[in-house]
């Protein structure tokens, strides 16, 4: 068993080394200087550039996962809204004898996909980050109170 596991480890090691070598060809979106700056701030010391790339790629993977989750939330809502509107149109269509103008061009794809705080907080919650965002900010502590009590 030792020999087989030894060989297995050998394969794993070689796979890892190959992967690290392939990292040098891949340019992550997060630049190396930025990653090195934050790693040195947190005490990480390694002169090997491949490890820096590994950290950069890991961070990029994390952020892209969060972003794709948020995108799913946005798209699901848009699909929901789209299908609701389709249903309403069908109901209208049945009520009136004349066929309404079918605007097939109104697809959910035409609507711009916007990253909002709500979708982001939901996506981050899946990954273990709790993000709370104020819905609105008031100008003064008295905003929204009764006018009688506001005059004090």
């Amino acid at each position: 068993m030792n020999s087989s596991s030894g060989e297995g480890r050998h394969d794993d090691d070689s796979a890892l080394t190959e992967f690290l070598a392939s990292l040098m060809d891949y340019t992550p979106t997060i630049p190396d200087e930025l990653v090195e700056h934050y790693l040195s701030r947190s005490g990480f010391h390694c002169p090997d550039l491949r490890l820096t790339r590994l950290v950069a790629v890991a961070a990029q993977k994390f952020i892209s996962e969060v972003a794709s989750d948020a995108l799913q939330y946005v798209q699901s809502f848009q699909f929901l809204a789209f299908f609701c509107s389709i249903e309403l149109r069908i109901m209208h269509c049945k009520a009136r004898p004349a066929p309404p103008v079918k605007d097939k061009s109104k697809q959910p794809k035409d609507k711009r996909l916007v990253l909002t705080m709500e979708d982001l907080s939901k996506a981050l919650h899946k990954h273990g980050v709790n993000l709370k965002h104020q819905e609105y900010f008031a100008d003064s502590p008295l905003t929204g109170m009764d006018p009688s009590s506001r005059e004090e």
Binding site: I30, Y38, V57, A67
Partner: protein, 360 residues
């Protein structure tokens, strides 16, 4: 990606809070924001809220810092100061535990074949390579601080055998010893008094010459309306004629304003001629004797030509006097000191006519 929406709220407060929170890491944060925005764009978003991008940037920076911290801890745990790939993989496993990865439950798992590494391999092979949009310089830039020169550098002998000369030199004694400063000049009270009196006389003379120059200047001489109060019953004793209350309409009879013809032959009165008696009085310096005299005004308003052209200061004073009684124009208050009155008149004339001052 463009700005997709507006946020309500006090932008000033949030921006000032942001600057306090970041604490000087603006450059790194800005670059991280650009990188995160690029990642979101490649994922498929068209636009985003500012706050969402900022939050995601914060999360990314925290992720990188936490990963570095975890890797450093694992290296220290193994008795090393510099981390290696296994420390990083263990750090990744720590951060990926909430989400889960394959093989997390194996107790004796091999790090090289860890689930996180395989996931990253998969990610690298499937994702589209989006390099950072701009070149990033090395940062932070470390400035070498200015070093204090050593004893050997300065050439001093250190103050004691126990101090080697390659240590930084001591600061100069004047930085920590207070030496009193004495006035070395010998004082002579009599000479000081004489000097004081001489300077006072000099000042008086220069004031007088200034007044003469102002008076003899032929450009517009707008004297304060002291004469206006002369006709009234009430005498308001004030220092500043401009602060006296205005006359109600019709109380004082004033002559009609006759518009001057543009006739060159017509003799125009000059300030010089009109105020010649005043100038005479100033020359004679005999103010106290003119208190009781009445003030006499010309029946018609003299027309002054407000010329802007410069005139030579060196103009001989006109010796003709219209009326000796006009000397009293300058007098307001006979209790005042002689010098004070003179200085006041000069200052008034100087304030009213900045042109003369410019010429001087």
């Amino acid at each position: 990606m463009s700005d997709g929406g507006r946020e309500s709220g006090t932008d000033n407060q949030t921006s000032s809070k942001k600057s306090k929170v970041s604490g000087g890491d603006e450059f790194g944060r800005a670059i991280a924001k650009i990188a995160v925005t690029q990642i979101c764009g490649s994922t498929g978003f068209h636009s985003s809220h500012h706050s969402a991008l900022d939050a995601l940037t914060d999360v990314a920076i925290r992720y990188i810092s936490d990963l570095g911290k975890a890797a450093n801890f694992y290296a220290n745990l193994s008795g090393r100061t510099s981390s290696n790939v296994f420390d990083v993989i263990q750090g990744l496993e720590d951060l990926g535990l909430p989400q889960g990865f394959s093989g997390a439950s194996d107790v004796y798992r091999c790090l090289a074949s860890s689930g996180v590494v395989q996931e990253i391999c998969q990610f690298v092979s499937t994702s589209v390579e989006v390099p950072f949009s701009r070149p990033v310089p090395r940062f932070p830039i470390a400035r070498t601080p200015k070093q204090i020169p050593s004893f050997a550098h300065v050439g001093e002998a250190p103050a004691g055998n126990h101090i080697p000369d390659w240590l930084p030199a001591f600061p100069d004694p004047h930085t920590y010893i207070r030496t009193p400063v004495w006035n070395e000049r010998a004082t002579d009270p009599r000479a000081d008094k004489i000097e004081q009196a001489r300077q006072r006389r000099k000042a008086e003379r220069s004031l007088l010459s200034l007044q003469q120059r102002l008076a003899c200047n032929a450009t517009a001489g707008f004297m304060p309306a002291i004469a206006g109060d002369a006709g009234k019953g009430k005498q308001i004793v004030t220092n500043n004629p401009f602060l006296t209350p205005p006359l109600p309409h019709g109380e004082k009879e004033v002559s009609e304003i006759v518009m001057p013809n543009e006739d060159a032959d017509e003799k125009k009165l000059s300030v010089l001629e009109t105020f010649a008696p005043a100038i005479e009085a100033a020359k004679r310096e005999s103010f106290p004797s003119l208190i009781s005299e009445e003030r006499v005004l010309p029946s018609e308003r003299p027309h002054f030509k407000f010329g802007i052209h410069k005139k030579s200061i060196v103009v001989p004073l006109s010796s003709e006097t219209r009326n000796a009684k006009m000397d009293s124009w300058f007098l307001r208050d006979d209790e005042k000191d002689d010098k004070k009155r003179r200085a006041e008149m000069i200052l008034k004339g100087a304030m009213e006519n900045p042109q003369e001052l410019a010429q001087l």
